[in-house]
Structure formats: structure tokens, C-alpha cells
């Protein structure tokens, strides 16, 4: 942590809205994508002579394609309801991190070039020409938005700053100013199949290793198949699940649940990634191309169902967009929703009673649960609105005895983002990530102190990685983050499993 020199926000007992301090995050800038990476995604390599005209043209094009952008840019009344709702504002005090001010960076240019009032009375309505300073502001502050949609919950018109920052990033990409982190990752997905650049042999190796581990531990042969033709279920999961802690414990859990449910399943080396960073950069075309891999893998493997592993934004793309981008999925079994979330699957099995659970296996923990922003505010699980809150909690409670929720205004529909979503999970942005995590850290710290919480469960690869990284900044233990399916994995007793007691008994014989 020594290499970072910025002040870590103080955690308070009760949340406080800070007074604004101009320009605290002006200096934050991610590395820019190199021309070759830009071009690989179909964007301009770098800023040209006419970047201003290009930007205005791109804005005009998007205004005609996205009703959200057009309506949101026109409708804001500057009521201020959203101003204290963004974790980045709360953590950095920078006024440009207030959702409406973030929108205004684009809105003032929109007004200048596309509205009567802005063309003729720019001063009056706060319209400005597009200048280099404004472009810098766009680049800095649209990469300080995790597209978590918390602001849209409170806006009387549902104005979603995520839509604005996606559009802004798309405009910048088109004129040749892209963010290295997201754009290089998308390149890797196209080239190798996943965000981490793990090739097929490495995957096969890892999965074999997992099978051995589970066999050693339980005496049961649980399979973690790759590219198995004719399996019933294709599992698409974030690539972090293949190796990093605590992600991989979740993957072990999915395998155990499938095993006990008696279904055949497979991972795919072609669609070895649930994440879809095309959404972060607001690019419909790239998001669609990434999604199509999943369709192709499902067809090639001849599966009947698609299930997604624990990942927040991936579940948004899967739940809300996959059918649109890569559908129709009429070749899959119509008895199941396409796609399904692994938690919907596990919840279903728990309801049916196919899983043998020993809750006491998790008795060494007192858990709380972090609702991932994308899951909470942009998707659903099950068939009732709000299932995205109930189902994960129901599963946790079915496998653990000790569970407490954090403060109500920080969970469910009004949950705070982990601080690393939306393509911000890069070391370049560590200061924003740490400061943006403040509201979540505060709520967590309070339940630790009041209820003795020891661990926080999450269902998103980005949340898990982000928390692992930022918890130590706040004096908390990085290992306290667990996957929900890790809890399931701990508690599940596989059919034919040799428990520790049995082994002891065998020794005595």
C-alpha cells in the first residue's frame, strides 16, 4: 500500500454527505489504449485532426439510436436528488462525481450543438463548446463511474448516468480515445476466449486439478468437464473462477451442485468467459460479438440449457441483453429460462430437496451479503420482481446458520457498488476504487462491530476482486470475502462422501 499516496476516507458510524471540494479527482486518468487495440475493436486508432467534428458526429449518431440518451439529456431538472447518491462522490467529494454533474459534462456539449437554447443562449443554459479541457474531463470522469445505476433509483425520471457514461465512452472510442484496461481485455476475449487470456490447455489443466482436489477432500468423483459435447447444461462463468481465491471455491461449489442434481454439464473453451466488457464501453457491436460466442458454443456443444456463474455485470448482459443480442434461443429446452443464474439453479435444487446440507459446516462464520449493483438494479432472478435479493439470501440462509444484513439503505435496490465495477478494476484507478468503496466499507464495518460479522459473501467476480484489494486499506482482512457457492460447497454433503467422522471410525476399526 506504500506505493499509493492518497488519503483513505475515515469510516463513520453514521453515513455523512460531504461538502464538495473542487477538483479532488482531476488527476485521475487511466492509461489510454494503443492504436492497435483500438483498431481491433473497430475504433479509430488515435485522435485525428478533426476529433471535434468526429465527436459531435458520433454524439448525433448515438442520440438517434438510444432513446435513453436523448430523453435523459433533455429531461434533467437539476433537482439535485441524485447528488449525494454516488459512492464516488461520497468517497472523493469531487463535485464532478455527482451523477448530475457527471451527466452535465456531456449535456453541456449536447446543448451547445444540438439544442436551440444552447446554440443561441449558451451562457444562460450552461452550454459550452467542445474543447480539449472538456474532452479531458470526459475521459477522467466517465472512467470514474462504475455504471452502477444507484443514481437512477432516486432520480424522479429514472435518469441513468450509466447510460450517459456508456455513450460518452463510445463517443471517445470512436474518435480514437479509448481506455487501455477495457479495450485490451475485449481484445483478449476475441483472440483467446476470456478476459484473463487463459488458453484451452491451461483451462483443461486447472479443471483436472479441481477434480483431484475435490476427490481428495471428499472421496467423490465430481467432474469439471470442458467442451463435453451433448451435456445438458453449458456453464458460462467469469474466468477469475478458474484460479483466483475466493472465486475458484465458488466454481467448486457449482460443480458439486450439478453433481448432486444429477445433471450433465460442461464449460466451453470458446465461451470461457461470462464477463462482457462491451457493455462497459457502451459498444452494442462489441457486446453483441462477445455474446455470440456463447450462442455458438451452445450450438456446437449441443446443450439444452445455459447457466451463468457468479458475476454481476455478466448477469446483466446475460439476463437483460443476451436474448436480444444473440437470440433467439429456440434450439434450447423451452422449459427453462434462457439463460439461468447458478443461484436460480441451486435455489431450485434446495427447494426440491436434492441437496444434502450440513449448515454447521459454516458455523465458524457470521455472514453478511453484498448485493452487486448490476444484479440488484439491472436484472432479476426467479419469476418475481426482487428475486435477485431474495434468492441469494435464501440460498445463504439454507447453508449457513449465522446471517445478518447491513444497513437497509446500503443493500438491495439501494446497494452501494463495490467501487470497482464498470471497467474500473485497474491499478491505474486505485485511488478512485479505494475511495469509492468507502460507503460499502462503512456499512460492513458497522455490522462487524455490532453483530460480529466475520465474512461478506458476494456473487460477482469484480466485487470479489475489488474487495480483496481494498479491504486492507480500511484495516480489514482481505480473506473475509467469500463466494456464495463457496458457502454452498462447504455445507453440501455429497452422496457417498467420506466425512471426517467416518474416517476416524475407520481408523479405530
Amino acid at each position: 500500500m506504500a506505493k499509493y499516496d492518497f488519503e483513505i476516507p475515515k469510516l463513520k458510524e453514521y453515513p455523512e454527505v460531504p461538502e464538495l471540494v473542487d477538483g479532488t479527482m482531476d488527476h485521475m486518468e487511466t492509461f489510454r489504449a494503443k492504436p492497435e487495440f483500438q483498431e481491433a475493436l473497430g475504433f479509430k486508432g488515435e485522435l485525428g485532426e478533426n476529433w471535434k467534428e468526429d465527436a459531435i458526429e458520433a454524439m448525433g449518431d448515438l442520440l438517434g439510436k438510444y432513446r435513453s440518451l436523448q430523453v435523459y439529456l433533455d429531461s434533467c431538472v437539476k433537482c439535485g436528488a441524485c447528488t449525494d447518491k454516488c459512492h464516488y462522490y461520497l468517497g472523493t467529494k469531487d463535485p464532478k462525481n455527482m451523477p448530475v454533474a457527471r451527466q452535465d459534462l456531456l449535456r453541456k456539449v449536447y446543448r451547445r450543438y444540438f439544442t436551440f437554447a444552447g446554440k443561441f443562449f449558451p451562457k444562460l443554459v450552461g452550454a459550452t463548446d467542445l474543447t480539449e479541457e472538456i474532452l479531458d474531463d470526459w475521459y477522467n470522469y466517465y472512467h470514474q463511474c462504475s455504471q452502477c445505476r444507484r443514481c437512477s433509483v432516486f432520480c424522479p425520471y429514472g435518469i441513468d448516468t450509466a447510460e450517459i457514461s456508456m455513450a460518452a465512452r463510445e463517443i471517445m472510442d470512436r474518435i480514437g480515445l479509448g481506455d487501455k484496461y477495457s479495450n485490451e481485455i475485449i481484445g483478449k476475449v476475441f483472440k483467446i476466449g476470456n478476459n484473463l487470456g487463459l488458453p484451452e490447455p491451461a483451462l483443461a489443466d486447472t479443471l483436472e486439478g479441481l477434480e483431484e482436489d475435490v476427490l481428495d477432500e471428499t472421496g467423490v468423483e465430481v467432474k469439471y468437464p470442458l467442451d463435453m459435447k451433448g451435456a445438458e447444461i453449458l456453464l458460462v462463468t467469469p474466468s477469475a473462477d478458474f484460479f483466483a481465491e475466493p472465486h475458484v471455491d465458488g466454481l467448486i461449489g457449482y460443480g458439486k451442485v450439478f453433481h448432486e442434481a444429477g445433471v450433465t454439464w460442461t464449460l466451453s473453451s470458446k465461451a470461457s468467459e461470462a464477463a462482457n466488457f462491451g457493455m462497459f464501453i457502451g459498444s452494442y457491436e462489441n457486446m453483441r460479438k462477445i455474446s455470440l460466442r456463447i450462442r455458438e458454443a451452445a450450438i456446437e456443444l449441443g446443450v439444452k440449457r445455459i447457466v451463468f456463474g457468479e458475476c454481476g455485470h455478466a448477469w446483466r448482459v446475460a439476463y437483460s441483453f443476451l436474448n436480444t443480442l444473440a437470440g433467439p434461443f429456440d434450439f434450447l429446452d423451452p422449459n427453462y429460462p434462457v439463460p439461468q443464474h447458478i443461484l436460480e439453479f441451486t435455489y431450485g435444487e434446495l427447494q426440491k430437496g436434492t441437496l444434502n446440507i450440513d449448515k454447521s459446516e459454516n458455523d465458524h462464520m457470521v455472514l453478511t451479503y453484498h448485493d452487486s449493483c448490476n444484479v440488484a438494479r439491472a436484472t432479476r432472478m426467479g419469476d418475481k420482481p426482487g428475486g435477485q435479493f431474495e434468492i441469494p439470501r435464501a440460498v445463504i440462509k439454507a447453508v449457513c446458520n449465522n446471517f445478518v444484513d447491513m444497513a437497509p439503505e446500503t443493500i438491495r435496490g439501494t446497494t452501494f457498488c463495490c467501487g470497482g465495477g464498470g471497467g474500473l478494476l485497474t491499478d491505474d484507478l486505485m485511488e478512485v476504487r479505494v475511495k469509492g468503496a468507502m460507503p460499502r466499507m462503512e456499512a460492513l464495518k458497522n455490522v462487524i462491530e455490532e453483530h460480529g460479522v466475520t465474512n461478506m459473501a458476494a456473487i460477482c467476480a469484480i466485487c470479489k476482486s475489488q474487495f480483496t484489494k481494498v479491504l486492507p486499506f480500511y484495516g480489514m482482512d482481505m480473506d473475509m470475502i467469500v463466494s456464495v457457492h463457496q458457502l454452498v460447497s462447504n455445507a453440501i454433503i455429497l452422496t457417498g462422501q467420506v466425512s471426517e467422522d467416518d474416517e476416524d471410525g475407520a481408523d479405530e476399526d
Binding site: 437539476k78 433537482c79 437483460s320
Partner: protein, 242 residues
Amino acid sequence: MSFLTITFAALFYAATAIMIAGLANKIIQFAKTPAPLKIPTTPAPTTQTGVVLRMFREVAFFESLFKATKWTWLFGYLFHIALFLVLLRHLRYFINPVPMPIEIIQPFGMYGGFAMVAGLFGLWARRFLVDRVRYISAASDHLILMLLIGIGISGLSMTFGVHTDVVAVKSFFIGLMTFSWSELPADTLLIIHLLLVAALMIIFPFSKLLHVPGVFFSPSRNQVDNPREQRHVADWAKKLEE
């Protein structure tokens, strides 16, 4: 016909035309622009009826704003509900004979004017007192509040102070609608009131008053949460599939 009458007749024809044409233009634009992806802020209704209810709560009670900030909600709601009453009460200048319900609300409408102005002052105070709201306010945000307060105070001054000939006002406006013009009373307060009202009508389609049509077109509020059941592809996106 006096110069004043002719000027105001022309002004109100122009203002009405600008407001209607401008709003129609915006509404057509909003309606025509596709929403290529399903983006309701969830939890969202899974049926169309549910969406209508959600929208109703949003428009009738400012549900989201209530969740966000109680002070803004209080002043904002007070202003809007009072405005609604005042406008209903004003219908008596445009409809002959005056319908029963409009008759009944007349006394409430009168005090509605005070509530409206009180709400507006509350909203305006926030623009000075809350540093975050001060930061996001442009000149136009202050001016529109001044405009509405000006309309309210000039109106109230007529109702409770220097009365104008409301019967003549009515026949002037009915005259405008039926193209049989009659004289407008030359009272200063009325002139001020009407000038400001005309200004409000003219800026409507070019200002943040677009929140009125905008709220109904907001995809995060007006979409049904059913993306797994129904495929939703915009025309421009279909081209990518070819």
C-alpha cells in the same frame, strides 16, 4: 380594437403555436428514437399493467424523489400539486359554461396560489443553501423559478389585491379560441401576468420543462421486465444480424 389587445392576441397565438409545435416535435423525436436494450431499473414490473402503475406513482406522487430527499420532495410536490390546482381553476377562462368540478375547486385553487409560490421559494432556497445543488444550477435554473414566482405573485395580487375584470379576460380568451376577438382589460398586473405566462409557454419545448413529456419516455421507468421471455431488437440493430 386596442393596440394592447392586438399585441396580446398575436402573442398568445404565437406562444400557443410554438408550444404545441415544439412539444409535438420533441414527443415525436422521443417516440421515434429506438430503445435498443431492456434497461428498466429493477426491481421492475413484469407486466404492462405494472408499468402503468409504476409510472402513475412516479407522476402522481414523485415516488423516486420521495425516496431520495424529503425536503426537495416536500417543496417540489407542494409546488406541482398547487400548480395543478391553479391550472384547473384557470380552466374557467377557457370553458363556457364552467363545468361542475371546476366550480367546486375554485376556493381551493385560490389558496393553491400561495402553496405554489411557497413551494417555489423552498425549491429556490435549496439552490442557494445546499452546496451540491448550488454547484449544478445554471442561470436558467434560477430564471425559471423567478418566472414561475413572478406568475404566481402577479396572479395572487389580482386575486387578493387589485382585481381585474375576469369576465372580460374570459371573453378575450374565448374570443381567441373562436376567432371572435374582444378587448383585453388594460390592467398592469394582468399584463405582467400574461406576459410571463406567454414566456413560459414559449420556453416550454426548449427548456428543462421537457421533463413533462420526458418522464413518460424514460426507458428505466417505462419498460417491462421481461427480457428472457421476449426478444427485443431495435430496427438499427436488426441490420447487424443480416
